[in-house]
């Protein structure tokens, strides 16, 4: 089997590769989304901790 035949998928290339592509996209997005929000959460907590260290006890 050669590569162009493989990508052609017996004439169903659009349906097969769109399905696989969208699936890959969803998998990547599901991993990226929590990793990006982790950065925001860590930044917020670090800021809160720093504020409490400079201003003494916690206020909020």
């Amino acid at each position: 089997m050669n590569w162009s035949e493989f990508f052609h998928m017996g004439g169903y290339a659009f349906y097969v590769w769109t399905s696989w592509g969208l699936s890959l996209l969803v998998l990547v997005w599901q991993v990226l989304q929590p990793k990006l929000s982790l950065r925001r959460i860590k930044r917020d907590i670090a800021r809160q901790v720093r504020r409490e260290q400079t201003h003494g006890t916690a206020t909020n």
């Binding site: 169903y12 399905s19 929590p34 901790v49």
Partner: protein, 256 residues
């Protein structure tokens, strides 16, 4: 102590340890990458076997290769829902903090895979059934599942107070579980364009091993993927919810 009660004690203690957000955070530090690697390994092998090794279908030709991404997504849409409903019930009955976290973090993952199952199904139906969409039992019940996921998420975000929000979303997810058997049996109870069960059917799977092996590898890989991203989300939520507690602050004081 006899071995049976030793096992019971071990399970009981691990359950309680995981119930504590701090212990969950500690344990999941090691568990998360293991789940990620298992997903990666299983799905890479599954994709290779599904795309290169499995033969073409005698009726549907190469188009059936959509099955290797469609069925695992559809499987997760139901599996994630069952986990979410059970976690919600545990949270409601035993007031366990971590159970609510698992339930809430499952909702967006389940919604994503339900949408993916619908879209890949549509992309498969277009060439084989000759239609992108049909209001038949399987497709309609799966669409309702997507709306239930949206409802669960919307309900959680509708409340200011976290405890109220947790209980509300848990209750809706428990009630909504009726959709799961309806989806599974829809192809038997009503006439449907959708084909009947291929894997979980009486008399075993109706597929040659060359097709069944990659399908099962992908489904298992997707299941580990759910565990992986569930841990990622749950760890975020634990950090955020416990940001006022000493152990979280200490983690950040060391880093300063």
């Amino acid at each position: 102590m006899n071995p049976l009660s030793a096992i019971w004690n071990f399970l009981y203690r691990s359950f309680h340890r995981l119930g504590s957000p701090r212990e969950f955070y500690k344990i999941s530090t090691y568990a998360t990458p293991i789940f990620g690697l298992l997903f990666l390994g299983l799905c890479l092998v599954g994709s290779y076997l599904g795309l290169f090794v499995a033969p073409a279908d005698y009726q549907q030709g190469e188009s059936y290769r959509i099955i290797f991404v469609h069925v695992p997504a559809a499987w997760l849409s139901l599996f994630v829902y069952v986990v979410m409903a059970i976690a919600g019930a545990i949270g409601l009955i035993w007031r366990m903090k971590m159970a609510f976290v698992v339930a809430i973090c499952s909702a967006p993952i389940g919604a994503a895979f339900t949408a993916l199952a619908l879209v890949t199904g549509s992309l498969w139906g277009a060439p084989i059934w000759g239609t992108w969409w049909e209001w038949d039992a399987r497709l309609t019940s799966e669409l309702i599942l997507l709306f239930i996921y949206f409802g669960v998420m919307a309900l959680y975000y509708a409340f200011e107070e976290r405890k109220t929000a947790e209980r509300a979303m848990a209750m809706l997810s428990v009630v909504g579980i009726v959709i799961v058997p309806i989806i599974h049996y829809s192809v038997e109870w009503w006439s449907s364009l959708h084909q009947g069960a291929t894997v979980f059917r009486d008399g075993g799977p109706a597929m040659p091993a060359s097709m069944l092996t990659p399908l099962l590898l992908m489904a298992l890989g997707y299941t580990f993927f759910y565990g992986y991203v569930l841990f990622l989300r749950a760890r975020n939520m634990v950090l955020h919810n416990e940001r006022k507690s000493k152990w979280v602050k200490e983690m950040f004081t060391e880093n300063l």
